[in-house]
């Protein structure tokens, strides 16, 4: 059932995003073409093309955000909810299908933006410069942290995806809490968002305080053992500890928001 829900969610959103990406990338190509073909003195067409490109780029991110809101609000909590909530499936599958697809489009929108920028700045010379700079950055990190930089990149990717999921679920949970009100549900959702956000900050701060002192003790111990100079491996250890703490904390938050959303949609659904 989840597979089918994902399929329809992708269909419903892909018809907006795919043409948008195609437009963005074609506009980047047009910009590139104009700037290569036109003589340097002719500025107006270049500026116009660039303004259009930037507008579309900004628009793409705005659409990505709005789609995330709208697919949840319109498809689940408005009239279309009559269809979605009478399907023989559990509410958590509806939430997961929306979440996964929203994550996917956020990542793809960022990728489309990078690709389009790359098209515009691409020149043979600076492409080489780019690869050299990238290699240098990797080597630099390697000497600083050692072989664990690969694990480290994995941690960053996992952490980033989880933070994205937590952000989206925070919005879902706010809309779900707003749904508990009998009227002014949108206003209530905004209120719920502010309250949940504040609560999260507070909780996160407490968690950091909890973990900060054992971590700094450990760091001090490592420092004194190493005689004031940290070895590459110890540095890596600390980095990993911080990353995993962040990942665990984000996971807990995301799970909390998910639980709130699922609770409201399965136990307190009241479609208008």
């Amino acid at each position: 059932m989840l597979r089918k829900l994902l399929k329809y969610e992708l269909k419903a959103t892909g018809r907006i995003f795919l043409p948008l990406y195609a437009i963005l990338i074609s506009l980047a190509a047009v910009n590139k073409l104009i700037s290569t073909l036109l003589p340097i003195e002719v500025q107006a067409p270049k500026i116009i093309a660039m303004v259009i490109y930037i507008t579309i780029m900004v628009g793409m991110f705005v659409v990505t955000f709005i789609m995330m809101l709208q697919r949840f609000y319109k498809n689940l909590l408005s009239e279309e909810g009559y269809l979605m909530f009478t399907l023989p499936t559990q509410p958590w599958k509806l939430i997961v299908s929306k979440l996964l697809v929203a994550i996917l489009w956020t990542i793809l929108s960022s990728l489309a933006a990078y690709i389009s920028i790359f098209i515009i700045i691409f020149e043979r010379g600076n492409f080489r410069a780019f690869t050299i700079a990238f290699r240098e950055a990797v080597t630099g990190l390697y000497t600083f942290l050692g072989p664990s930089i690969f694990l480290f990149s994995g941690e960053i990717l996992l952490g980033a995806t989880l933070s994205l999921a937590a952000g989206i679920l925070l919005v879902y949970a706010s809309m779900a809490l707003g749904h508990l009100c009998n009227r002014q549900r949108i206003l209530a959702s905004v209120g719920a968002f502010i309250a949940l956000n504040a609560l999260t900050q507070l909780l996160f701060f407490q968690l950091v305080r909890l973990i900060a002192s054992p971590l700094s003790q450990r760091m001090q111990r490592l420092f004194s053992e190493a005689g004031g100079h940290l070895h590459m491996l110890s540095r890596a250890q600390i980095f990993h500890a911080v990353m995993w703490f962040g990942i665990a904390a984000t996971f807990i938050l995301a799970a909390g928001y998910f639980a709130i959303t699922n609770y409201v949609l399965s136990k307190h659904l009241n479609l208008e």
């Binding site: 089918k4 329809y8 279309e80 009559y82 269809l83 009478t86 023989p88 009998n182 009241n270």
Partner: protein, 232 residues
């Protein structure tokens, strides 16, 4: 006969407003049941509760023993009073959607009904009139071979010719073991197909009786009785 739908002490409030009060009901299998009442008598609320789109404030509702959930939704084919379909889809895509999610969906029957109601399956929902959208919804809902059909105002928004077709579809669809609940205030049109009626007034059941009994005991049609009970 086993009950297909039971309600015990079922109540629903919206804020301070009480929309349904203490409903006790047991609906038998294999009947066509009219859920009758004026506007705002709680008909829609009752059907939404049966579909899990609303959460009861008091009591409980069960479909063949199940609380509203995946099990009950497999058995129930529901026609809401709203147009609830994705506007961007074509009618044929909606048929696919229903076929994908409901095991009991009969694709041929859906296309056949659409054809008879002169709906082009390639039309996007966005381009259809409100009445045509309602016809599409009805075709999708009636093309399921469900155990329980819950139809909220199925004939309210369509022309009289389509109305006849819809009633005919409902009757021809009728199988020994399936049950149909039709909510409406257009009683005269529907009276001839009903086996059983429930009168709802201000959120309470004022009458629940087989249609034959009403005709025998009261010597009146359901329509006449309705006009008497709900006289303004």
């Amino acid at each position: 006969m086993k009950a297909v739908l039971t309600a015990k002490g079922l109540g629903k409030d919206f804020g301070r407003k009480r929309v349904l009060k203490n409903i006790d009901l047991e609906l038998e299998k294999g009947k066509i049941i009219g859920l009758l009442g004026p506007n705002a008598s709680g008909k829609t609320t009752f059907l939404k509760l049966a579909n899990g789109l609303l959460t009861p404030t008091a009591g409980e509702i069960r479909i063949a023993g199940f609380a509203p959930g995946p099990e009950s939704k497999k058995m129930v084919s529901y026609l809401p009073e709203k147009t609830y379909l994705n506007e961007w889809m074509r009618t044929e895509q909606l048929v696919e959607f229903f076929a994908d999610f409901y095991e009991d969906f009969n694709v041929d029957r859906a296309h056949d009904m659409l054809k008879r109601l002169q709906v082009d399956p390639r039309d996007k929902l966005k381009t259809l009139s409100k009445g045509t959208k309602e016809k599409v919804q009805l075709c999708l809902v009636m093309a399921r071979e469900a155990e329980l059909y819950l139809l909220d105002e199925p004939i309210g928004g369509v022309d009289p010719a389509a109305r006849d077709f819809i009633l005919e579809t409902i009757i021809s669809n009728y199988r020994e073991d399936s049950t149909i609940v039709i909510s409406t205030h257009l009683i005269a049109d529907i009276e001839k197909v009903l086996d059983y009626v429930i009168f709802l007034k201000e959120g309470e059941i004022v009458l629940a009786s087989p249609v034959d009994e009403i005709r025998e005991k009261e010597g009146k049609s359901v329509d006449t009785l309705f006009r008497e009970v709900f006289k303004c």
